[in-house]
């Protein structure tokens, strides 16, 4: 598709360019083709099926947990996966896995949506909560540490929560609703912030194969606009609000840029992902060794896993524990042992803020 060419306005209804039978009802965001609803459903679902098959995301008989937040991506993912599972006989046992971070006015509303999805799609639901796992809700955490670095806590805790939930469900894989826009944003973000290690990993469709639960992203090549369009036409039930604690994340820059880009060249989103896949990065010899956390047994490259470090900080009223640059193993914990000897005061040791 070329850039903004001046096309003469067509008079009268346009035929669907795929089936030529029905009237075109929409312009496809990815290709700008004018197609009917039925053909849109068909290409949308078929493309995802191709991604699943070509990348060998699943094996027959596997138990798969779908990370379900109640938002449009995970709702559509649950819907499409269960549909394709039936249609193409993937032979999968699908589950919905939801994380309750304990954010009133946001998460409790979206959880209602997931509970409705459980009934609508007939997929068993498991909810894991920060309160049960860690003894803290995000509301309580934010009350203690404020609105800086709260995403650090939530992100670290959610990763473990999903893994633990997946283990409780005894699933083989976790599928998340990360879409093409997300991944393109992440590629750009990693270039902008100099994170070469993440840059080499962020376009992988399957990650964490050497960890507790491998994760995959069936929507890797699916446009966010198309997911919205699908949910809209199919009248799927989803909850759409941003997290009330989300700060002005740096990702916002990348997102705005990609929106502008999509307007002049829709395929640019996929081109960014393809560039990311083709980057050649020399694998450095320095890879972190994988061990287990001494406190909880979760996978960790340090003595304590990150969640335990953060929790320790929360429980002891030390909000900066685990935040900032690592100085030797387990930032803060070593200082801690010194503190008992009255040598250093941790509170004065500002490890630097991480505001992007």
């Amino acid at each position: 598709m070329g850039e903004a060419e001046v096309k003469p306005k067509k008079a009268g209804p346009v035929q669907c360019s795929i089936c030529s039978q029905r009237r075109a009802a929409l312009k496809r965001p990815k290709t700008l083709e004018q197609i009917c609803r039925e053909c849109f459903y068909a290409v949308f679902e078929e493309e995802i099926h191709r991604v699943v098959v070509d990348n060998q995301l699943f094996k027959p008989g596997e138990r798969i947990a779908i990370g379900a937040s109640g938002g449009k991506d995970s709702t559509v993912l649950a819907y499409v996966l269960s549909e394709l599972n039936r249609r193409h006989n993937y032979g999968l046992d699908l589950f919905l896995l939801s994380v309750d971070e304990g954010i009133t006015g946001y998460r409790d509303d979206s959880l209602e949506t997931v509970k409705r999805n459980e009934i609508q799609y007939g997929l068993p639901l498991k909810v894991v909560s920060y309160k049960d796992l860690y003894g803290w809700t995000m509301d309580e955490i934010v009350k203690m540490i404020g609105l800086k670095n709260n995403c650090t806590f939530c992100g670290v805790f959610r990763r473990q929560a999903l893994d633990r939930g997946a283990a409780m469900l005894k699933v083989d894989k976790l599928a998340t609703g990360h879409n093409a826009d997300d991944i393109a944003e992440t590629v750009l973000l990693n270039i902008l912030r100099g994170d070469i290690a993440r840059l080499s990993r962020c376009t992988s469709i399957i990650t964490g194969e050497d960890g507790p639960i491998p994760r995959c992203k069936p929507f890797k090549y699916t446009y966010e606009k198309e997911i919205v369009m699908y949910a809209y036409f199919k009248r799927l039930d989803y909850f759409s609000t941003e997290c009330i604690y989300s700060p002005n994340a740096y990702r916002g820059f990348a997102r705005e840029f990609i929106k502008d880009l999509e307007r002049i060249r829709p395929r640019a989103i996929l081109d960014i992902i393809r560039s990311g896949e083709k980057f050649r990065i020399s694998t450095s010899a320095k890879m972190p060794e994988q061990g287990t956390c001494e406190r909880c047994g979760y996978i960790s490259s340090q003595k304590w896993c990150k969640a335990c470090v953060l929790l320790e900080g929360l429980n002891r009223g030390l909000p900066k524990l685990g935040i900032g640059r690592t100085r030797g193993l387990n930032n803060g914990l070593e200082c801690d042992t010194k503190q008992s000897n009255g040598v250093k005061n941790i509170q004065s040791k500002q490890c630097g803020t991480l505001d992007f």
Binding site: G2, E3, A4, E5, S69, G71, S74, N149, C151, T152, C154, G155, V156, H178, D181, D182, V187, L188, L189, N190, I191, L192, R193, G194, D195, I196, A197, A249, Y250, R251, F253, R255, F257, D260, L261, I264, R265, A268, L270, D271, I272, R274, S275, G276, E277, K278, F279, R280, I281, S282, P288, S301, K306, G322, I323, T326, N331, G352, L354, F356
Partner: protein, 468 residues
Amino acid sequence: MACGAGNCQSGCFRDDDDSVVTEKKKLTNRTLSSGSDIDLPNHHNLCLKCKVNETLASSGTVSVDGDIGRFCFDCFRGNLFGKFKLAVTSNAMISPTDNVLVAFSGGPSSRVALQFVHEMQHKAQKNFDASRDRSLPVFGVGVAFVDESAVSRIPSDEFDKAIQDMKSIVSNLAPPDKAFHVVPIESVYSSNGRDRLEELLNAVKDVTGKEDLLQHLRMLSLQKNAYENGYTKLLLGSCTSRIACHVISATVKGQGYSLPADIQYVDARWEIPVVLPLRDCLAQELNMLCRLDGLKTMEVLNSPHSGINGLVASFVTLLQEENPSRECTIVRTAGKLTPFHFNQIPESDDSNVHLASRRRQKKFNLKPNESVPPESYCPICNSPLSKSDHINLSSLGSDQTNADIFGATCCPSCQFQILPKEPVSMEHFYSLLPQQFVVQAKDRSFSMQRQLREQIQDFLLSDSEDGT
């Protein structure tokens, strides 16, 4: 489903200096912007480096945040020249026997490049005159301006004045004398250039594709001029800011594989190797230097970008305003991608090359499989093609035209944004291409066909292609 959380300590290559430097800058800016209200101790007004002269910020010359304000003029200029010289010596860009062609657009970056190259040459000349044995010759310098009046609408009197200004700039940069070449971009054609060029560009519908094709033609015309006039190096004034934009726009166009090739100090893919000595200087610094040092620039000849390139330029500008080290970080990140074997000056057995400069040249630490040359390059943009972009000559039928074969040898990005979609338009486009593009493509497809044939040679029963 974007969470934006990126604060982790997994030992990733976080830019260690980023937040520390930003903190320092914030502190300095607060100090500087408070202005005359606060009784500043003396050392805040003194140059960070020499601690003798007034900073540019305090003398009111510069109101900009960041490093520029903290130096005095001499140290500021010295810092830029130092970066230039370091790039030249550690990448063996210019050897005494070289004849360097400086591409001059009239803009601030190439103006500074020209100035610095002249100063280097001037010093070399003085050393030569002063030395007794005259062993080290002085490298030659020429200046080339690409005249794009065939494709852009600049009033001819403005244009002529600009050319006159350039001529006088070049003649003032002597001794040693430098030739000044005005290279019409239509010179890529041997005859009937203006018409063919106009037709060629009109055949490209995509706005970004047209701009990029023009850029490739620009390089082609410079290469042709350099070759015909006996130059051995082509020097561009590309700065950090321009390279940062290229990193983002190449990513956006799907050129992730070939991106590292374009952003190094040295690009020896070309007949005449291309060197980028201002790679470590920001556009802002170079602009400032031209302003403070009275280096004349001609901005009227540079038209703004449109399409994707324009969008990327405004994006990077926005990011740079938000954080003045962003452009550097982008280039540094992209610098960590594996470069190609042609991204260093090839070692020559020429005994005339001074041993010292050869020793100083940094060598890449390329692993054996990484230093294997790519098998082919796109005939239009000269980007190395990955194995997956490699054409499958076997997938082409035997009745494919030359235009089809040519199209198949191009990279995916050029195929999308430059080549016309319909076969008839493609035939027409192919007929309009400068000879150079066509010849390169033919060579590539011939050699690939030969390689395939060599593999199956033993099993062929006849010598001819169709088995008769």
